[in-house]
């Protein structure tokens, strides 16, 4: 009963209103980008949740590996000097 060719999987991103970023909302299957876009409208924006949709085939997303999150993100953790609170200024100095 199985179809030989399954429709590829697309990831769906939606901008809920202008001024906000597109946000990942889920995925769906479609034969191509155009169908993915139309399906995304029906599946993810039935109540005007969006003003813009991006779809991208899931296999094109290159993601970081959670097992390597340590090496990837820890270097940022000891760089307190990247934050404004690191710098000590007297209270009298305003607007800075």
């Amino acid at each position: 009963m199985s179809d030989k060719k399954n429709w590829p999987l697309y990831e769906v991103f939606i901008r809920s209103k202008n001024g906000l970023n597109h946000r990942h909302v889920g995925s769906l299957h479609a034969t191509d980008e155009e169908m993915a876009l139309e399906n995304a409208r029906d599946v993810y924006t039935r109540r005007s949740e969006g003003v813009s949709i991006w779809v991208v085939e899931s296999r094109h997303i290159f993601a970081s590996n959670p097992d390597e999150a340590g090496e990837l993100f820890e270097p940022a953790q000891d760089k307190v000097y990247r934050h404004p609170t690191f710098y000590e200024l007297p209270d009298e100095v305003k607007h800075i």
């Binding site: 009963m1 199985s2 179809d3 060719k5 399954n6 429709w7 999987l9 909302v25 889920g26 995925s27 769906l28 299957h29 034969t31 191509d32 169908m35 029906d42 599946v43 993810y44 039935r46 109540r47 993601a63 590996n65 959670p66 097992d67």
Partner: protein
Amino acid sequence: MSDQQILNLEERFQQRIDAEIKVEPKDWMPEKYRKTLIRQISQHAHSEIVGMLPEGNWISRAPSLRRKVALLAKVQDEAGHGLYLYSAAETLGAERDQLTRDLLDGKAKYSSIFNYPTLSWADIGAIGWLVDGAAIMNQVMLTRNSYGPYARAMVKICKEESFHQRQGYEIMLTLAKGTEEQKAMAQDALNRWWWPSLMMFGPSDAESTHSAQSMKWKIKRKSNDELRQQFVDVTIPQADFLGLSVPDKDLKWNEESGHYDFGPIDWDEFWRVVKGNGPCNRDRIKARRKAYDEGKWVREAAMAHAEKKKERKAKLAKSA
């Protein structure tokens, strides 16, 4: 990986769960956690899809245009819910087509409630009010489950569910305030849907096999019996308001516990329906198979069309 390494990973996994850190798709997780979730999420997805059948039965016969557009929108939402959930299951490595085939082959379960027939228009009211009501109890709890994509799907679903329950209750309210005959219809629907709705929460805690582990992993946060009690407590006053009564002679308010006591559930009936012998089990699967088989040429043609389009585009790009 050695057994000791896996043990360490499992321990760390549990610590993260205890600290309320959500699990995301590519994170390490115990195989059993993954399997439990795939089973639960896909069963949930199948329930949304099969759940369209009993209500779909009344779309063409809705008594007014207002009722018709509402029911149509509700049934369409259920299709959407099924899709959000399949999408969540796929993040765990499940394959969509395989999930569908498991349903069609009778290997996968779905909520037993949808194996009962919708005999009158009042059933559409009772389903929205009771079945969606019971589903909401469960789903609100699931918005806080430990697996990120599942929890996020639940948030979206819960936002949509409340209209389902309200449209159902409004139908019941209209019938209950109508003629004697209409009121009798509403009471009859309540009589038939009450017990199956209570069964939706699953076996009692003493009998429930997966519960302890699921609670520990925070896939579940309340027990079946807790949710069932919560449902009874909020629903009885709603039935009272309609002037209808639930078919349970043991039902009474317990001043001491602050809850309603209710009579024993017929678990034989529950298991009979789960095992495939409810009034509509065969019909439901037959309808799903028919849709799948008759849609086959459409799926294939759409794929072939997309490929042709791609080729044409490639050719055009080359000649340009």
